[in-house]
Symmetry: C2
Subunit: 381 residues, 2 copies
């Protein structure tokens, strides 16, 4: 068993790391623009492309959603969500800024702090929404490649902060690599950037982390530091489609962000969120399922000789030693939708962790597409 | 019966018009800031303060909402809404930009067209969301008072357009006055502003209009003019709490707006919207109920000697000849919540049209608060 999990960071580091070169910041254009056309989905279609929670909201949450129908014609309803979030974290309501997913909170941060330009320091590849809105404000990205073990290079990022830097963006755990930076590294980083530098720490995948070296950065908000933590209900709580997220910061920072925030959250999401926070057992079940299924599949891929980046999230990246596009197409033709391209990591597939059955189907298609004897990717095997 | 409806514009014009002076643009601060605390609502509480549809979504729409629960864990779902809206108007999908209520669309318009400042020409009082975001872009409001009959002064607005003007905002019907400008007036206005001037026409209350002189401005979009029409599902469709609205414009304008738009609409709202557009009978019933109840109450107030501004919407304004604040408080103490203050019209109450029963209670409280023999407001009686 240990061996199956044994895709250790150390073993992994020597692998395809040289494939990672800085290819410049490319806004994720496919994420912008007209709404994607939903593909017709035949029975058995497996969508493990967007890091969604495959279980959806619990019966309790669905009950809260249905109850909220009674307020769906009104502008104000179920606004207990801000209080519920604040209580959940041991904070005050003026520490919380709601958004339509953490996406809105990240857009608000761009809009609020990049007026008139400047730059942000961030990693690549990472969650691109922060970079997506740079064009609007004529700001620039000061983008630092990940380390050879696919983690944020916090030393290089601290060095990259300059007089034009308005904030630093750290996605922890990082999307799309699934890696973390430790609490000690964050602490060290915060001590090395100027005290007034705003550090945004995106904790969308917080709940799935098992590594004890990791810790949420909310404690730095409580210390009064210039840290903004973003969170979402889209992952462990399984309501991505309802659009609910939030930012956590000291009141002075929240006040600067608020005028740029629409924060017009629908009543169904608010009610679902309040209930979801009240169901720690559902949360624990989702985490347990995700992490056990993830370990099993990573073990299977390891047994086949593939290198998987150690993941602390509900997705993982697997290196295949060649361009991923033909492989993605082959999966799609078999009705298995896997993650998109994340340059410069064009030889890594990002796989979201689905249900047991979905991951069985995924492995079936893997063997079909990649060939049982295909060991071309297994550079380290 | 005719007499009850007979609060004609002509009779009305000579009334309290002199009370309307230009008091400068005041951002509606109570709309910004932390989410409002929901008052504890005892049984029988009447909320006729926010121009909400008191009937809520139909059974059919509720069914569509429940069905969408199955997609609530996913990022993409039910995106047929853009197609449904386009088809509904005889337009293409690239004419449509979704938003979380028309509020988001109006914020997007500010963000997209006011980068670097400039000014917008608009009326006062009107729906303030367009002015609310001016501060973010360091733009200015070039604000023109309403005419003496509480309508947009399109002649003065056309004259106010200058080289710094980025767009003109016309709320038609206007909130909070409930008045319209005619199609002929809009046509004349469009012909008098520079051809490249963007004219935003907010048609949130479009469905309730009965005056045959009125027409939607969507036809000007179809003509290729620089007109942006905004619409919402919050009024006639009764799903304000779900947050769904949209902008309609030629593709070139939509393309300029899209990068500034979050457009992250929840799946419940999308599904509800598609179903609502497919229920013209529900729409007709809501309009019929609203307009008949409105006429009845306006007639009752007229019989008591009060002047009501002729309304083409689901709310109306009634002049009371003195500051409204003590009256609003007296209503609130009796659990009837009526519209807020709309400077400079500080002697007019804005009343949303509720259900029959709600408006019966409203009239009961009116008689109690204002006194049956109170004729101080009936300047023209």
């Amino acid at each position: 068993m240990n061996q199956k999990r044994g895709v250790s960071r150390r073993k992994f580091m020597g692998g395809v790391a040289t494939a990672l070169t800085y290819a410049g910041m490319k806004p994720a254009l496919e994420l912008v623009g007209a709404p994607a056309q939903r593909p017709a989905r035949p029975a058995g279609y497996v969508k493990i492309s967007n890091n969604e929670n495959p279980y959806g909201p619990s019966q309790g949450v669905r009950g809260a959603m249905t109850k909220a129908f009674e307020e769906s014609h009104m502008y104000i309803g179920a606004n207990g969500i801000t209080e519920a979030i604040a209580t959940h974290h041991g904070l005050e309501t003026d520490n919380i800024l709601l958004g339509a997913g953490s996406t809105e909170t990240l857009k608000t941060i761009d809009d609020a702090f990049l007026q008139g330009g400047g730059n942000i320091v961030g990693a690549e590849p990472t969650y691109e929404v922060t970079y997506r809105y740079l064009t609007n404000t004529h700001a620039e990205g000061n983008i630092i490649p990940l380390t050879s073990d696919y983690r944020h290079d916090l030393h290089a990022m601290a060095d990259a902060v300059n007089y034009g830097t308005r904030f630093v963006y750290v996605c922890n755990p990082n999307n799309p690599t699934g890696t973390i930076v430790s609490d000690a590294e964050i602490q060290d980083f915060l001590d090395h950037v100027p005290e007034n530098m705003i550090v945004v720490i995106d904790e969308a995948y917080h709940h799935f982390v098992e590594d004890p070296a990791y810790s949420s950065a909310i404690k730095y908000v409580k210390e009064g530091r210039n840290v903004i933590v973003t969170r979402t209900f889209s992952k462990v709580y399984g309501i991505a489609g309802l659009r609910l997220g939030y930012g956590i910061a000291k009141p002075e920072l929240i006040s600067r962000m608020r005028p740029f925030n629409l924060g017009s959250i629908n009543v169904i999401a608010k009610s679902a969120g309040v209930q979801a926070l009240d169901e720690p057992e559902t949360e624990a079940r989702v985490i347990q399922l995700n992490n056990s299924i993830k370990k099993r599949v990573i073990g299977q891929l390891g047994d086949l000789g593939y290198e998987v980046i150690p993941s602390e999230t509900n997705f993982f990246m697997v290196g295949i030693g060649r361009d991923i596009d033909p492989v993605r197409r082959a999966f799609q033709e078999r009705n298995v939708e896997i993650g998109r391209r994340f340059p410069p990591m064009t030889e890594h597939l990002r796989i979201s962790v689905g249900t047991e059955a979905e991951m069985d189907r995924f492995m079936e298609v893997w063997n079909e597409v990649m060939g049982p004897a295909d060991s071309q990717a297994a550079a380290g095997a």
